[in-house]
Symmetry: D2
Subunit: 260 residues, 4 copies
């Protein structure tokens, strides 16, 4: 069984900012894809904003098991149609891993239904991510904590729904805390938000961060697809599990589709 | 303290369908508003689709504590801008009660992030809503179950996120079950989904259903507003709770706003 | 990798009641063990109340990955010490599947912290279990619903904590509903409560029920153990992640253990 | 409406340790009771370990709406019968607020079902509690964070179930984090765990901590009692909501009580 994984990147800062280019000369997606590619059962490719349909055609998404999302300065440039398409595939069972500044990506706000806001500071301060549950599949091979010498601070309150599980909580040198690893399910799709990643520091070169990403792909992978998850089928009276007879007035004609 | 409540209705079937008109001659919103109006500390008004801005101007929403939402055949006619405005107010703390076919309303899908799909059958069959937690504020004065002689069936799977609380589960004569009362929080706003209501049966004339609606308004009311819930303020280095000094390269200039 | 599974049974009604004996001549545990044993990577054994230490010595539990629990009339005969031992192993990561009348087993109440009460009726009525999430690993191979021609009714309210996930909800011929499949985690251990099973009906001979049990064992299996999960280690000042100096008065002497 | 509140204290360190006695000459319970007593609708009293039945007779508990629990070195001296009695009242709807070292109190472990373990260090270090949800009733009047100049550190992982809501997360000077405010429901009773309180620092004299305690009492108060929450009543066939006839063999005689 192969886990078909796509690493998506807006690929902006790496081409504009010399500091970021030095760290990620081929883009953040390239480094992440290489890290994931060490797993022999992952089939890894990348996609970027400036490709046709941002590299996320329906055909490609239909052949994707887990999608990783990096965006920062170009959230607004992502087409609403592509966002809706990605959301639909998550509902059908595609896993989604949202990275760092992706908290404000359209796709994350679309799936959370909340502002996804937070407080932030770019001071290269120290961050320490504590694993709240040491036996969670996502934290295997790391911990009890991951220390990052330089990180952008994200501080609570983080405006997301109560998660299924809180996996990581971060400590920051400057005095704040943040829920840095959170799990959700939306439709049949599993979602993991993972905070680290500011692009002026070599976060995705960190072996422990890479381990978490590999674990997260495996965790988010749902081998069972639910293609018609968004359908609302009418169950005819004759097919009710219990024998009943229709009573009273009806709004719909027999066999009519419902309203949406 | 007054709870300013608005009952919103697309107000379509009551004007087109004689069966529905007989049950709700002045519209579903009128019956619900009358039921809520018995509470002396509720200030109740109504709004409908064909009013300017669907009756939901920013000024009006800013003066609304709890909004009830009825929609069915005209979901698509609701302006995306108004949906976004309502979502914003929910995030700031406005309560939202979504009724029956409102499961497919844009505002509910916007806040859940899921397809909100289900199975259905219109056969006038019997429904019995069981209170899962008898001491929940929303079920006071009713129960242990509410019986509706004629109801449209909604069947699981209901494609919503795992709720904060499951308050009601329905039994249907035809053999299905449904999670009929679910609570959520999105930003500072509390949300209650309540299933009963098909418009060809006099559901909102039922005293127990009316009691649940009054309870739900009280439960959804959040006296504390969070106006800037969607902001993502920068915390300057000099204002960090702990004394730190900026290290390393920076993407942002001092005082610059973050990307959205 | 082998999943070492133990099926525990009080083994009472099968020896006393001719109806039950006819259905389960060698005990419920024997039928469940045979059903699980079809998986080539499960190593399945059984244990019963009247064995020394109820067949659940520390050594045996330490070599058990997933435990299934059947009890009904002899809950009170289970030793408190064994219950505590099983709870400790669940905390360390052993999976636990609690069956039917096990809702009142000491071990289930111990792990839930609630009364675990419910309403019931023994009338051989029809039950239909609806899968709330069709892509959950526990429901693969069955569904959308499982129909049991004869079942004991369990009705809401079921006094358990809000679950991580609601997997099944039951419909009963007599008009009640019940959350029949619920997931929890306690410490590192995953717990699945599964309702069907009344011993005067051949529930565990049902192929779909057997499929759910096999799925549940696989789901509950946690390959990562956490042996010292209950420890509360002191972190000496000199080993704090950040350099600090002790300030103020102390209650504990250096190196002293905490109170429990 | 009066909220009848009891502050329970093992009252040990204040009588043995001069540092603690200086801070709490009449005991921690006296300071907390005085802080709560400022609310005109709270009726506040105290109880301690060495009173008959630890001051928690059934009669007294039946007349208590919210119980606060302080224990540290004498957890083991609390009678199991009293613990069971308190758990029973929580199930019926009494609120419970567990303070600091109470994480290892028998009553907390009884209600959580988990080890409730954590890491700790007594170094008088700085703690900052961040409010994760600024509109939660428990955090009104404080925040965005509460700073304590000297605190005992509690570090993750904290072995409790996933909470209903994470209300506070703590930052510690020495580099750890902790979920310091968590809500649960067990039966009809609401539970709030609140971390601050080490007795060698004047934590409960802090006005913000006192505000949180007052808020928490109000939040935990459930005006609706559920006296028979632990009963498992048989629903006779003749009283089934739907007309059914008993089929098949029965284990129980008509009207017989179920097994427990």
């Amino acid at each position: 069984m192969t886990i078909r994984t796509v690493v998506w990147n807006e690929f902006a800062h790496e081409r504009e900012n010399p500091v970021v280019r030095d760290i990620y000369p081929d883009g953040i997606h390239a480094v992440i894809a290489a890290a994931l590619g060490r797993e022999t059962d992952f089939e890894v490719s990348t996609a970027t904003l400036d490709e046709p349909e941002h590299g996320l055609s329906q055909t490609r998404l239909d052949a994707t098991d887990v999608l990783l999302w990096w965006g920062h300065k170009s959230h607004g440039a992502v087409s609403d149609a592509v966002v809706e398409r990605v959301a639909g595939r998550v509902h059908q069972g595609m896993g989604l891993i949202v990275l760092h500044s992706g908290h404000f990506a359209k796709i994350f706000k679309r799936l959370m239904g909340t502002p996804c806001s937070l407080r932030w500071r770019e001071a290269g301060e120290r961050e320490r991510l504590w694993a709240v549950n040491r036996t969670h599949p996502i934290v295997q091979g790391v911990g009890p904590s991951i220390e990052l010498p330089n990180a952008e601070m994200y501080g609570e309150p983080f405006l997301v729904p109560e998660p299924l599980e809180t996996v990581f909580i971060s400590w920051f040198e400057g005095g704040e805390v943040f829920r840095s690893g959170l799990t959700y399910q939306r439709g049949a799709g599993r979602i993991f938000y993972f905070r680290p990643g500011h692009e002026t520091y070599p976060i995705y070169h960190n072996p422990e961060i890479q381990t978490v990403l590999r674990n997260a792909v495996r965790w988010a992978y749902n081998p069972v697809a639910w293609p018609d998850v968004a359908e609302a089928p009418n169950v005819p009276v004759a097919e009710a599990p219990e024998k009943i007879e229709a009573k009273g007035a009806a709004l719909h004609h027999a066999g009519e589709e419902g309203y949406r």
